[in-house]
Symmetry: C2
Subunit: 195 residues, 2 copies
């Protein structure tokens, strides 16, 4: 028995779907959601609009679906030492942000997240919150191990760690880059967090 029930007719070209997704990510980064037209997506993907609307019912559907695909496999491997763990996570987070697409798309979505639109809600739930949970787990584990103070508020700690990094990313164009910023941040925070 066949696993996939093949419909009659010419099958979908998977490379077309990928080209569309790639084009959406690129345009989201460059001009934002409101600045992105479906015609532009089609042109950039080298694809006809018909092929887009054959796969997604609307521009909103398209964007939500593609954004959801940003949930990359976030693996967190703990070294058992919180300073190294945090530096690793911050390094990866920074790389994620400076990676062309994510780092430019994220700030474009902030407004949507804030106002709680469908797109913003979806992005928050499928991209932001899972990453926060991983970081929170890392900190909670270190607290269990006795590395950090027992009365440390994990949620606040996650804010203290990610807030400055995001802020630095947002203000990037208006600030001098400090290559040791991550280290300074982690050390300054741990100064107060240690048991």
């Amino acid at each position: 028995m066949t696993v996939t029930q093949r419909r009659a007719g010419r099958p979908r070209d998977e490379s077309v779907s990928e080209a569309i997704s790639e084009a959406v990510l690129g345009l989201l980064a460059e001009v934002g959601i409101r600045g992105m037209s479906v015609d532009a997506v089609a042109a950039r993907a080298g694809v006809s609009k018909a092929s887009i609307y054959r796969r997604w019912s609307s521009k909103e559907d398209l964007v939500i679906d593609v954004i959801g695909g940003l949930v990359s496999r976030v693996e967190v491997s703990s070294t058992g030492e919180i300073r190294a763990d945090l530096l690793l996570v911050l390094g990866r987070f920074g790389a994620f942000l400076s990676e062309l697409k994510a780092g430019l798309i994220f700030p474009r979505l902030v407004g949507e997240v804030h106002c709680g639109s469908d797109l913003g809600r979806h992005y928050a739930e499928s991209v932001i919150l899972p990453r926060r949970a991983l970081l929170a787990g890392l900190i909670a584990d270190a607290r269990e191990r006795g590395e950090l103070r027992r009365d440390l508020d994990v949620e606040i700690a996650v804010d203290m760690l990610t807030g400055p990094v995001i802020l630095r990313n947002l203000m990037g164009a208006f600030r001098a880059a400090d290559p040791a910023a991550d280290e300074k941040l982690v050390d300054a925070l741990l100064e107060g967090w240690r048991a």
Copy 2:
């Protein structure tokens, strides 16, 4: 001699200008820059489009000018004790953000700041940077007084303080509110900053 050289003809109605600015702020908060049409501004202000274009040459001019008006008089009075100072500043900052318009407009502008558009640059330079400078001065003073460690990096400290607050504001809809968050944050930070 007359101080103001009065032109011939009917004078501008100041209440019209104010109604336009108010409408822009409201719409920026509700639908963002790209979602705001000049027709909507006119309708909301109860004003004709001609009256708008008589005052501003384009939609971009209008928005930049109105945003510039957000620079409210930021007064910082130091109590001479850094914890109280920081709590006061954070309290005011939080009030500024939760104030209907500023708190909703700010996140809408983040994308513009990030990509360095004219509007974003203007907002960063005339609204964000002055506020940062005041906070930095407060921290630097406390360091001079010997309240904080001499090796404290003021720029990073400002990030550590404002980053989490901004993040909390952005994610507002997806987080439980913690009324003691400001205090927890300041205390946790001072733990590491004290001399």
